[in-house]
């Protein structure tokens, strides 16, 4: 009775969708992510300004630095805002303790020949991660070059070049150009999308895991399977929770679309963020394909498990691969057509995030991304079919401890 199966799947879809959007967890997450986005939107420009401030050719310091010069190399140095000359080490230490300066540098009299400088710091944190060291490098560069070079030349010593990129394709044609900032502006939305995609897939498939496991634990499942087919149950559940996930993404994108232009008026770093329409289309396509893969796997785990706890533990094995591309983003984005990126594109568990990150890296092989989408979509459909069988077989495992052997035996019996 295909008509009844479709009608049943629709009923289950409606029930699961409305149940999901009434859940407190879903609502908190749906509202919480935009808040996080806004938080990052505020932090990002600030970090950007700090990052690019070293490249403007000046040596202005964000925080006060003290220095004692025994070598006279800074004798003719023009005053620099934030740079405080101190005569005595004891005074310097006191200023450090009082918080008047962030760091104290002592230049010994043999500095020019040895390059050695003593750096006094207060508080915790790694000195190698402290930008004060870089800032004082610039001070020393200016001091050394002061007599021999013009101001412009000194600026170039400090900041040798601001690159404009020209991308040349395989035929030798220049197909795009822009600055490093443009590249970051282009990559950032894709990276954020990849994160959103992953989170939404996790929430949706996690809910499915919970739903299936609870129904089994509650013994509700026997009532369901005598009311409709396992396939209708799985399709209804997967689509219902998937639609709730899509609604979540739509809300996030709407908030982003409204808030980003407004924030960009205040923060220069955001003004150049660009979101290509095809990225949104691809993201939605990958959302569905990826969601089907994870949801079907989660449903299978839920159906084969005997308790929510057991199911949660096993599900972690499936979820870890999805995070790999995010962790490997530092490798994928700079090298979107490298072996790692390409392999991850064709593995259904990593394909959604890896593909979006390849787009962020401006891949030359979009066809591979599309192919990865097709592979993931087919894997999703196959796994959905399989999950209905496991769901059916899972009924046989009431009260049994789960093992590969028992699941396989149940699968064969359910066939």
């Amino acid at each position: 009775m295909p008509g009844k199966k479709t009608a049943d799947a629709r009923i289950i879809f409606e029930e699961e969708f409305s149940r999901q959007i009434r859940r407190t967890g879903w609502r908190v997450f749906t509202v919480g992510v935009p808040f996080l986005m806004l938080f990052f939107a505020f932090i990002l420009p600030v970090l950007g300004d700090t990052f690019f401030s070293d490249n403007d050719g000046s040596a202005d310091l964000a925080e006060a630095i003290g220095f004692i010069d025994h070598s006279d190399v800074t004798e003719d140095l023009e005053p620099i805002p934030g740079l405080i000359r101190i005569e005595d080490l004891a005074d310097g230490r006191l200023a450090l303790v009082d918080g008047d300066i962030k760091s104290l540098f002592v230049i010994p009299n043999d500095y020019v020949s040895t390059g050695e400088v003593d750096w006094y710091r207060k508080g915790s944190g790694l000195a190698s991660e402290d930008s004060t060291g870089d800032a004082f490098h610039n001070v020393l560069r200016i001091a050394i070059a002061d007599d021999a070079l013009t101001d412009d030349q000194i600026a170039r010593v400090i900041s040798p070049a601001s690159y404009t990129l020209f991308k040349v394709d395989e035929l030798g044609q220049t197909d795009s150009s822009g600055s490093l900032q443009d590249e970051v502006a282009k990559a950032a939305p894709a990276f954020i999308f990849a994160m959103m995609l992953m989170m939404s897939i996790f929430v949706g498939s996690g809910s499915l895991l919970q739903s299936v496991t609870e129904e089994k634990e509650n013994r509700m499942v026997e009532m369901l399977v005598t009311s409709t087919s396992p396939m209708s149950i799985m399709v209804g559940k997967v689509l219902g929770l998937g639609a709730a996930g899509l609604l979540q993404i739509a809300i996030w994108l709407t908030v982003a679309a409204i808030s980003v232009p407004q924030i960009s008026n205040q923060f220069s770093g955001l003004s150049s963020l660009s979101v290509e329409p095809d990225l949104i289309v691809l993201m939605i396509a990958f959302y569905f394909a990826g969601y089907f893969v994870f949801a079907a796997l989660m449903a299978s785990i839920g159906a084969a498990s005997t308790s929510v706890r057991e199911a949660s533990q096993i599900s972690a094995i499936v979820l870890v691969p999805a995070v790999i591309p995010i962790y490997a983003s530092a490798l994928i984005i700079p090298n979107p057509d490298g072996m790692l990126a390409r392999v991850l594109t064709f593995f259904p568990l990593t394909s959604p995030t890896a593909s979006i990150l390849r787009i962020a890296g401006d891949t030359d092989r979009m066809y591979e991304v599309v192919l990865g989408l097709v592979v993931t979509a087919f894997a999703g459909m196959f796994l959905l079919w399989l999950s209905a069988r496991v769901f059916r077989a899972g009924l046989l495992l009431y009260g049994q401890r789960m093992s590969i052997r028992s699941v396989w035996g149940a699968l064969r019996q359910s066939g």
């Binding site: 009775m1 009844k4 049943d8 009923i11 289950i12 029930e15 149940r19 609870e214 129904e215 634990e217 509650n218 013994r219 509700m220 026997e222 009532m223 369901l224 399977v225 005598t226 009311s227 409709t228 087919s229 009924l395 046989l396 009431y398 035996g409 019996q413 359910s414 066939g415």
Partner: protein, 308 residues
Amino acid sequence: MFRTASVPYALEIEGLTKRFGNKTVVDDISFSVEEGEVFGFLGPNGSGKTTTIRTALGILRQDAGEVRFLGGLNAEDAMPRVGYLPEERGLLRKEKVSSVLRYLGRLRGLSKAEALDRGLELLHRVGLYEHRDKKVEGLSRGMTQLVQFVASLIHSPELIILDEPFSGLDPLNVQLMKEMLAVEQARGATVIFSTHVLSDVEEMSERVALIADSRLILFGDLHEIRVSRGANAAVVEAPSHPDGLPGAQKQAGRGGQIEYRLSDELTPEMILNAYASAGIVLSRFEQVLPSLNDIFIEEVSNARQKNG
């Protein structure tokens, strides 16, 4: 086993077999249930009643045999017309009672409004209407069982299959459930219920099937089964009773009544002769058919002895 009766069958099970690995848990079971009757499916704990029901309903796949519902339908096609109360109770714990009933009613072919109306009507009848907006997790176990019972009746099914419906319920709710089932039967529905409580079967059913150790050992009309077994006891009412008769097992007390357990060593003729020889005039002599309890114990014991 199958009869050519004028009354059509609501359920026909023929040679049903189910194995889990090497273990046969339902072994070549055949019986049929007539439309409109209340049928008792009996068996001791662990005899295979639940597995038989699950396999018949298609929850588990059978290894052999055939099951036909409501005049020849397979399980999948018949399900919208079947109400089922599983042995293992449970509903969506976080959902409201009325929402769960609406959901299950819709899956059984009712519209949203119909499912809700019918659900509330049945909640009224089981005295849980006030709890309609409570979450299932807020109900007691007995209440949850009643809600699940309601869910199995929500679509006015033609065949109602209840697996141990009365277990865990207090006597008042058991009575309520029996009354509701009587109403369903009067409406024309067929009721099959499994149990190991024999008094329930004697009270509600005319026909029974008894299984033990995965096999059907008895099936048919309860009265005919008892008659076919012959009397297994005799009740004698007299002013006094002769000494030395074996098998005097029960002293009823009133009116000098005594019950003799009949056997090859003590036949009705021997009892009558003993009273006549002693010159005692009987005011009542009645041969008693075996109770279902007697039959159950005898048959299950025999089956177990046979199976080692």
